[in-house]
């Protein structure tokens, strides 16, 4: 398995892990009040705002650990350079990821039209974020394996 594939696999696992752990921890703080109350919307606002720095920090830590483990396993100090093929693969995977994300956004908006609770809409948005990232990373692994 190449360095790029390993990196994509780590990104995939960390995306799922970080969001799952964070969601489980935050769900314990979910306000037990009217689903349309100010507290509920404040909760979701804080959920997304805190997720961003938490995700960035966790990813940096995971990436450092991955780099150390990869060095121990392969004795390669530096990560391979990123070249035109990497950029093309990332662009194509990003396109698939965006399609999935927009489908998710449409579903989230559809949930509001169907008069489901705002919590459902926010949960769909969170799942969409994770699924689009999974699609991006899996697509990249696929392109690295199949060729591009």
């Amino acid at each position: 398995m190449s360095y790029q594939e390993k990196r994509n696999l780590v990104n995939l696992i960390s995306a799922v892990l970080i969001t799952t752990v964070y969601s489980v921890l935050m769900s314990q703080r979910y306000p037990q009040s009217d689903p349309y109350s100010r507290e509920v919307f404040q909760f979701w606002g804080a959920f997304f705002l805190i997720l961003i720095p938490v995700s960035i920090i966790a990813r940096i830590v995971i990436y450092i650990i991955f780099h150390i483990l990869n060095y121990i396993a392969t004795r390669e100090e530096d990560a391979p350079i990123t070249d035109e093929r990497d950029d093309l693969i990332e662009l194509r995977a990003g396109r698939f990821s965006r399609y999935v994300f927009w489908i998710g956004v449409m579903l989230a908006m559809g949930s509001l039209v169907m008069e489901l609770s705002p919590a459902t809409m926010f949960i769909i948005l969170i799942c969409t974020g994770v699924v689009s990232e999974i699609v991006s990373e899996v697509s990249q692994i696929y392109f690295y394996r199949r060729g591009f």
Binding site: S2, Y3, Q4, P80, I81, T82, D83, E84, R85, D86, Y144, R146, G147, F148
Partner: protein
């Protein structure tokens, strides 16, 4: 439009140039070894710039490195 199947002589050219490794060639043209492997296997068609860089390393014309094997309808 018919799709061109582009093949290459990189493996043979590496052999003729003192059996330079894929890693050495990758370093010379500033790409990763994975990219050289993908080009050699015909899994990746490089940009024109990279194709010229490869030709310059081997000191041959572009046609001596890459050629059209066949076109598929």
């Amino acid at each position: 439009m018919a799709k061109l199947l582009i093949s290459n002589n990189i493996r043979r050219l590496r052999f003729n140039h003192g059996e330079i490794t894929q890693q050495q060639l990758a370093d010379r043209v500033e790409v990763s070894r994975q990219t050289i492997i993908a080009i050699e296997k015909g899994n990746y068609a490089p940009s024109l710039e990279l194709a010229f860089r490869l030709a310059l390393v081997f000191e041959v014309s572009l046609e001596a490195v890459f050629f059209v094997e066949k076109s598929t309808p």
